[in-house]
């Protein structure tokens, strides 16, 4: 490592670009998995690649859940210098594929039979025009609630099955001196709440029509107003300091028993596990009331860019390594999500992971696996951004639900 750094310094001092060093085989990966748990999980992939003879050039750009990384990517693409692989979500992959900037992984995909083991709603994002362009790493589910078991037991509350039960439970919790809902007031977190609220108010079919197909009638319907009403009630369950709080600090509140619940994707579970907590012993995991049986998903994928022939082999090796059953198991155990492949055994996963893996198969069968709006798997960025604006303003300013619904319809129209 040290020699590489010195070599890089020397090379840079003479103005030679980093690429000149790559006489050895290497893959350059841009990502934003810089936190302890995520980085550890990625180390597994790095070690795997190194075993296969490829050096891993790490180019992390943290911040904003990938916002900074995407800016940097734009610049690099404009400069004709894309990385070999980049961590990407849903529609971003499609955007770049549309511009013809991604490579073709079909050879590896066919050889290893990816079409058979990757759920169709997910593969929709990994493929473009029938060609594979990205390797999915995992499936995250966003309609989870994570609860502190001790508080629930003490107050004799069971996981609420309907939203009204949840409101009642929240009242009880608040009276006992705890914070009902730990929430971080950042737009994407507000949007995550909205995912579940819409799903709960109208079910998977409504969610699909409104949030994915952007059907104007559905977007402006009373069902949508019900979703905003739920958001307003959720607003009453959070503590006053929620604005701007990071999601992991909210999770810490639940872990430490200051708050009872958090509505968050299953990367929150990773925090519980790291803190040494166990499902059903220290914390509970259940679906947001009214969304049992539906699965809003979010997936991390490594998109492969079109690069020189020399780099292509490395990419294919990386793509294959990402889809390797062993890697998928190890990575997802560390990250809190479930494998993108449906043929990985659930034996090593804990209770919540097992539930997720079982649920995803059920949801696929019943056609209620839908892409998460909050995490870029429902609509393209421009429209999603405009919708999130409305949601976060409504949450923060208390816009009346009927008014918010109208704003939502207008925002989608303006952004199309």
């Amino acid at each position: 490592m040290r020699n590489t750094v010195i070599a890089a310094l020397v090379a840079a001092a003479f103005g030679v670009g980093g690429s000149a060093l790559a006489a050895e085989k290497s893959v350059e990966v841009v990502h934003w998995w810089t936190s302890g748990g995520e980085a550890a999980a990625l180390q597994v992939l790095k070690a795997d690649m190194e075993k296969k003879g490829y050096a891993w050039k790490d180019s992390p750009v943290a911040g904003g859940g990938g916002d900074q990384a995407r800016t940097v990517l734009r610049a690099r693409v404009a400069a004709g210098n894309p990385p070999d692989a980049m961590q990407m979500l849903g529609f971003t992959i499609q955007d770049y594929a549309q511009e013809g900037l991604l490579g073709d992984l079909t050879a590896v995909a066919t050889k290893e039979g990816w079409d058979k083991v990757v759920p169709a709603p997910l593969a929709k994002f990994s493929k473009y025009n029938g060609k594979w362009v990205a390797s999915p790493v995992n499936i995250h589910r966003t309609n989870w609630i994570w609860a502190n078991k001790e508080i629930f037991d003490k107050l004799k509350i069971a996981p609420p099955k309907t939203f009204d039960e949840m409101v009642a439970a929240a009242d009880k919790i608040r009276k006992a001196g705890y914070i009902p809902l730990a929430h971080g007031g950042q737009p994407w977190q507000d949007a995550t709440l909205f995912d579940s609220a819409v799903l709960s108010a109208g079910g998977a079919e409504f969610y699909r029509k409104a949030m994915i197909e952007l059907d104007e009638k559905s977007l402006g319907s009373p069902t949508m107003t019900k979703a905003f009403e739920q958001m307003a009630k959720l607003r009453g369950m959070v503590d006053k300091d929620f604005s701007g709080r990071d999601w992991n600090l909210s999770t810490a509140m639940v872990i430490n028993g200051k708050a009872a619940m958090q509505i968050m994707g299953d990367w929150a579970k990773g925090e519980f596990i790291k803190a040494g907590k166990q499902p059903n012993k220290d914390f509970l995991c259940f679906q947001y009331p009214g969304t049992e049986g539906s699965f809003t998903f979010n997936t991390d994928q490594f998109a492969m860019f079109k690069v020189s022939k020399a780099q292509e082999t490395g990419q294919l090796v990386l793509a294959s390594a990402v889809m390797d059953k062993g890697f998928q198991e190890t990575f997802n155990l560390a990250k809190g999500s479930i494998p993108a492949r449906t043929d990985v055994s659930d034996a090593k996963f804990e209770a919540c992971g097992k539930k997720s893996m079982a649920d995803v198969k059920k949801a696929i069968a019943s056609n209620s696996m839908v892409g998460s709006f909050a995490h870029g798997h429902a609509v393209p960025e421009a429209i999603k951004g405009a919708m999130v604006d409305v949601v976060t303003k409504a949450f923060n300013s208390g816009t009346p639900p009927a008014e918010a619904t109208k704003q939502l319809v207008a925002a989608v129209k303006a952004a199309k």
């Binding site: 737009p187 929620f242 604005s243």
Partner: protein, 300 residues
């Protein structure tokens, strides 16, 4: 008289100044005006993710003005801009006048007021975010001192969050303004002041009637530099509030950033960028004009 050099060399000699200047001119033409022109062109197109030359007139500008976030951004620009410039000028001038009073610790104090300018926006934003956090920073501190009712939670309050950006921004830049005024005060010709004081004018009067007016050029320079910092301040907002709560601390620069790089609305982002530039130009061009005219006058 030395012999004249031969013709080609003579031409070189005569035109050397212009030749030497030409790289800078070329760079400016391409990398400043060329890019501005390109951005302007894009603002009239339908570009989303990549540049696309379908011209649509002023549609993108209309879309920007119709966007609720832009309204917040413009409002914030005025609030932030005026407060930032005003407070920096006032505090900078005050500190400069105070420091000018032959204080022994001037060097140390000057360093203390000046150092915030050395910090990057990320560092400033992180430090202040912490201090303004009700649960970890100033509010908690005052609570521990016994004032349990003290509230200082502006940063999580939609209406007040922008003032937090003002606080952090003023903290960072006022030292620099102070240095400018201090330099100006030191450069004032003592004879004039001496004459006034001999005439019996009181100290405040001397400052108000004589010294302050002589600092006018510095006011102008300071306003220009501060205006430019205010319009560019995107890192600070990002680090301090992330644009939140919601999008309550949105500024035109963050609006442009979000739409160009994150929402794949290249043309809309370009339109907002052009409007940002026009605002900048509205302030800068008159200054430049006066700068150029003053250089015809003999240097004072």
């Amino acid at each position: 008289m030395p012999t004249q050099p031969r013709p080609p060399v003579r031409w070189l000699q005569r035109n050397l100044p212009k030749l030497v200047l030409s790289p800078t001119v070329a760079i400016t033409l391409v990398f400043v005006y060329g890019f501005i022109a390109w951005t302007t062109v894009l603002s009239f197109t339908r570009s989303k993710t990549i540049p696309n030359l379908d011209f649509v007139g002023f549609t993108q500008y209309a879309r920007v003005w119709a966007h609720p976030r832009w309204e917040v951004a413009m409002h914030n620009l005025w609030v932030f801009g005026l407060l930032y410039i005003g407070l920096c000028l006032a505090i900078g001038l005050l500190l400069a006048i105070l420091l000018d009073q032959r204080i022994r610790q001037e060097g140390t104090l000057r360093a203390i007021y000046l150092y915030p300018m050395a910090l990057s926006f990320i560092v400033t934003g992180t430090a202040w975010k912490w201090m303004l956090n009700p649960g970890l920073g100033i509010e908690k501190l005052v609570h521990e001192w016994g004032f349990a009712d003290f509230k200082f939670d502006w940063i999580i309050n939609e209406d007040m969050a922008i003032y937090c950006v003002v606080i952090a921004g003023v903290w960072q830049a006022s030292g620099f303004v102070m240095a400018m005024f201090l330099a100006g005060l030191r450069g004032i010709d003592d004879d004039i002041v001496k004459a006034a004081s001999i005439d019996g004018a009181s100290l405040p009067r001397i400052y108000l009637r004589i010294i302050l007016p002589m600092l006018r050029p510095i006011f102008l320079s300071a306003v220009v530099i501060l205006a430019h910092l205010a319009i560019k301040s995107y890192d600070l907002v990002l680090a301090l509030t992330g644009g939140g709560p919601g999008y309550a601390t949105e500024l035109p620069s963050t609006f442009m950033y979000v739409h160009t790089f994150l929402r794949n609305e290249l043309a809309m982002g370009s339109a907002s960028a052009v409007m940002m530039l026009m605002t900048v130009a509205a302030i800068i061009v008159p200054y430049l004009y006066s700068e150029m005219r003053s250089s015809q006058r003999p240097a004072n």
